[in-house]
Amino acid sequence: MTTAPGPAPLKFTGSKHLIQRLVLATLTGRAIRISQIRASSHTAPGLAPHEVSFLRLLDAITNGSVIEFSYTGTTVLYKPGLITGSAAGYGSAGGVVRHELPADCTRGASYFITPLCLLAPFSKAQVNVLFTGPGVITSATPTGDISVDTVRTAILPLYKSFGIENNLELRILRRSNAGPGGKGGGGEVQLVFGHQVRLPKTIHILSGGRIKRVRGVAYAIGVAGANNARMIEAARGVLNEFAPDTYIYSDVSSAPLIPAPERNNANAKRKIGLGFGLSLVAESNTGELYSADIASAPSGGEVPEDLGKRCAFQLLESVAQGGCASHVAAPTMLTLMAMGSEDVGRLALGKEVLGSEQVVQLARDLRDFGMSGWGMKDADEEGEAVVSIVGRGVGNVGRKIA
């Protein structure tokens, strides 16, 4: 492009919080340069496959972005373009961007979907992305990603409080656990994010309320459905005492097949991503959501009862941390608040959540991108703090003229 050069790109180092920084760069329109990505690693320096894949995804849903890698992949320069979403003519066929994840991807699909959801409200057209390929893991992963069920039941509803609620859909077309060694899976997920706004609403969420119901999804992929029943029973054994209104639904599906061509059979396929898992969501009477996630390890050898119990304990821990957003939801909420109109929004968070590495780093990164600092004070409840964030009114560039 022949436009005048903008301000110098912001400089970051390290591979941590890469996605968060890329998302903020896209939202604020600032160019960034991230260097020393796994520079000290001898075996796998530079960007990991899932990070490259996310950059590709950014390229697909934006128009005019520039992405430059260094020779070793340890440095990335990213100049964001306009978020166009799945508008026709920008790499989408029939209004759907098809995004293939590589077979050596170790992260769950939620690793891509959660940041994509953050970008989607500020897109020009609706965002409709189909995640497919031999690397889509829909379950929770050992790398710490949540399952897509949790994204649908605990992350997407968060957008409602920001006035973004119409035409949101996350279709789980095929389920898959993590494949052997935690790599790859054969799932298929489609995200439809059809509600674009100029600015998200300012929120004031201060009371967490009390848990009134627990819902969940137990999934068994390519293994006996009895595993689901066992997980559910164990989880209910723990949770029933606290919340009698507990329902956990069971979903049994066959294992996905991915192409594995052999020498004498080019069409050969193999099963991948067998296992089971559990996603739990607790809802309070004020509508706050707390979630927990667990899936069987790719190496196997775990008993469903153990997993069910652990998931229930995880949910209880998440509830115990308090606040109006769990550690899974907090980054999404806080980022949307920072992108809101120039008004003070308030959110009560548990101090453990607020003090977590990710949230602290988010605060620092937001500051680097020129957002206002956060105000914090003790909340009425013990162990909680109220975070007040002044939005910068960045909002949706594509919708400025509307």
Binding site: R152, P157, Y249
Partner: protein
């Protein structure tokens, strides 16, 4: 439609009758027992003034007695005796009947909502599921409300379609139009609901017929207006079909103005006016000079 409505009505009447019957039976038994009860109360109060209050264990047994009396008043003695003999070697049967079905229904609907691809809006679905049984509990209120609504609808229809009711057949008990009138009423309702055209209108017919129909209706309208004028009645204003102001699509290579027919370009006076512009009026004339 009208027939079904009639059926529904009949059913509603039956429903309404049942509680009335029950009330009658209750009231009868109550009137009998009333005096007895007041007397007992008086005695009890008098007793309790002097001594300790009585334990009220009798009430339940008394209820049972009442029921037995209601059921078969004639052989009350017999039933009493047989009950005693049965009690001795009767096996206590406990029926464990839970309202399981309703709960599972809720589970199913909840599952559908929760497992769909949309983010679950648990609140709405479950409030709906819990609202249903509460409706059932106040069935009497809703029953009367439904009856009211039905009557309302019937009255509205009667008012709207009264002109279709033949005065000769109006004396009949049925308030719904019959025969041809019924079809016309149905058609009217459909049109009220947004049907584009009447279903009774014939679509295809010879031109002469259509012309006849239009002239007849035009004549009828004209006579109606004429009579109204003669009698000094003011009618609604006559509506004229608006002429379409659309620009004519002239196609490619056709003339920009006028009508090319038989090798000649015919210009109407209007066309001429449009070509010449406003001549000699105001500024037009001055501008014309060159």
């Amino acid at each position: 439609m009208a027939v079904t409505l009639g059926k529904r009505k009949r059913r509603a009447e039956v429903k309404a009758e049942q509680p009335r019957k029950r009330e009658r039976s209750w009231s009868r038994s109550e009137s009998e027992d009333d005096d007895d009860e007041t007397a007992r109360a008086l005695f009890q109060r008098a007793f309790e003034k002097k001594f300790q209050p009585l334990e009220v264990t009798k009430s339940t047994s008394r209820d049972e007695e009442d029921e037995s009396e209601d059921g078969d008043e004639d052989d009350g003695l017999e039933s009493d005796w047989s009950g005693l003999s049965e009690d001795e070697d009767a096996v206590e049967v406990v029926e464990l009947s839970q309202p399981n079905v309703g709960a599972e229904d809720g589970f199913d609907s909840g599952k559908k909502a929760f497992m769909s691809s949309r983010p679950p809006t648990i609140d709405e679905i479950f409030s709906k599921a819990t609202r249903k049984p509460t409706k059932g509990s106040t069935s009497e209120e809703t029953g009367t409300e439904a009856a009211n609504l039905k009557n309302d609808l019937a009255l509205q229809r009667l008012l709207k379609e009264s002109h279709l009711l033949d005065p000769s057949s109006f004396s009949k008990t049925a308030s719904n139009p019959e025969g041809k009138g019924r079809l016309k009423a149905l058609d009217m309702r459909l049109q009220d609901l947004g049907a584009k055209s009447s279903a009774l209108q014939q679509e295809k017919m010879p031109v002469s017929h259509r012309k006849g129909i239009t002239t007849k209706s035009a004549n009828r309208e004209a006579t109606r207006r004429k009579e109204a004028m003669e009698n000094g009645i003011i009618l609604e204003r006559q509506k004229f079909a608006a002429k379409s102001q659309k620009k004519r699509d002239r196609g490619i290579g056709g003339p920009g103005v006028g009508k090319f027919q038989g090798g000649t370009l015919r210009l109407s006076s209007r066309d001429l006016k449009s070509i010449e512009g406003s001549k000699g009026k105001g500024k037009g004339g001055k501008r014309g000079k060159r």
